[in-house]
Amino acid sequence: MTLLWGFLWGVAAVATIAGGAILGVWWERKVSARIQMRYGPQQIGPFGSLQMIADVPKLLFKEDIVPALADKAIFKYAPLFVFGPVAVSMVVIPFTAGWAPLDTSVGVLFFLAVPSIEVIAILLSSWASHNTLSTLGGLRATAQMISYEVPRSLAVLAIVLLAGSLRPLDVVAAWRWWWMPLTFVAFVIYFIASIAEMNRGPFDIPEAESELVAGYFADYSGMRWASFMMAEYGAMIAASLFGAALFFGGGWPFGGALGVVVLVVKAVLIMTAIMWVKWTFPRLRQDQLMSFCWKVLTPLALVQLVVIGVVLAWL
């Protein structure tokens, strides 16, 4: 019975991410088009909203190319392990007051830890491609994703410290509006580090189009390529939802079904900001990225922790 429930939850999570990714791609196309003085998709469906429905079959029918010199088994299955962890991490998100798909006492830790498996899958896929540009991309991704987990975790720790619990539902229940100004720096750090985690601009160095063509997934095509894209959008959706839940009180001030709507609206706002940043800023260089992580974000996150510690002692 538990197995059946687990299976159903898995299907629901994948469907949510796939649907979310489709809407996310459409939304990004519209947002980026507006930023660039264009219209974006507008022919298929109202405001071009069905464009992606047309694009998905195209991806499904594309030839699945496996390079002759690739390590075939790893090359074929690595995309699954890029997408999988992102889907799994979604289950602990507290969608509304008192309800999360999986209510666990270490939910916050789970959310931070599980997507880290993605790094291994990315490294494997880049290595298996047998392509210098892919390998460089994979190495860049590994350094970047492992480094940015430090400030990201420290930023989330600020909220955990205030709430006194690692259970996401407890965090949302304990959340007060005055946490927002107090944890503003932590949110900014979480925001930046999350962008770096999901390899999006201005931190899309591992897949830098103008340098490495597409980096670690340069040799992928069709649905295998799409699973990298879904992982990227999935990570963006998960990070936005989780950020909205932790830093902006989830469904606050509403509960129940309305709470879910409020959470989604907040998440869409965060997601739009992520897109806005990507389509405005140039890309950092690898060494600048690493020094920004270790010399700016990490110390700043530690200072934020100290500030919150002082506030808690004073309360």
Partner: protein, 364 residues
Amino acid sequence: MTEQTIVNIGPSHPSTHGVCRVVVTLDGEIVTHAEPIIGHLHRGIEKMAENRTYLQVVPLTDRLDYVGSMYANWAYCRAVERLAGIRVPERAEYIRVIVCELQRIASHMMGIGSTGADTGAFTAFMYAFAQRDHVVELFEALCGARLTYNYVRPGGVSMDLPEGWVEQCRAFTAQHPSAMLELDRLLFGNVIARARLKGVGVLSADDAVAWGASGPTARGSGVDWDLRRDDPYSVYPRFDFQVPLGENGDSYDRARIRLWECVESCKIIDQALDQLEPGLVKAEGLPRLLAPRPGDAYDHIESARGSLGVYLVSDGTPRPYRMKVRSPAFCNLALLPLLAEGHTLSDLVVILGSLDPVFGEVDR
């Protein structure tokens, strides 16, 4: 020192600006050696010119620098005119100046836009291209073509300005400088762009002269050299304009002075439109088939990429005996190994973009 990796950038790559292959030797991420391999776009234009009449060569010159066809047209026509002793009517000279300054804007928009695209700021690319599109539309109204114009001909230009064109052109120059200021804030004012471009690929003024660099590449290093002012041709002495100079010779200066050159070009266009008077646009009494007396001629102009020269030898027949193009993009590209060494792979792409090569002109 780790084991060195050899990475092929190109010939088909998003940021080689055409078909260039760069064989890069990497130590980790650091470039220890970069070797541009050219010739993928070699069509033998100089040789082809020997089998065509003087007028038939003009469309070939369009295909040299396909981002700035007007320049190649003009440089070639000046050499022919010098060879055959043709006097060009004043109105034609003004029109040539106007279209070539518009061409400079169009070409620099491509250069600045791709600097944006190379650093990952694709929005800056779109903003630059919106401006370029205005110019291309003006050219389309002028001669029907958007890329290869075949407009400047020996003895003048192929046709007069169409009705209402001057007003359209004025409307463009009126809005262009403010658009440049916006682009400056969007791209060159950005903190990440500054970090990516400043101090990357520093070219000293001495090196720039020694390697034969010209145009914005040399002026970015502070070499005060512009043929429009220092070896004046056509009606340029009648215009008041500045030559923007860089200070540090890095990618930032090279890319950014292109922006100010566009603003100066607008000034020149405005002055030329003010001074434009009715008259002939093509010299009268030209023979259908030009056959200059035996001899040779060289003439050069300041193109968007630098000093563009054409050398022609005539043996008295209606076809050139020899044509040689002095290509600024070729000379500037030669700097790439010098500039890229010691920088990262990401910087190599930025440096290549800041040299703004067009491979139609490099390979010819």
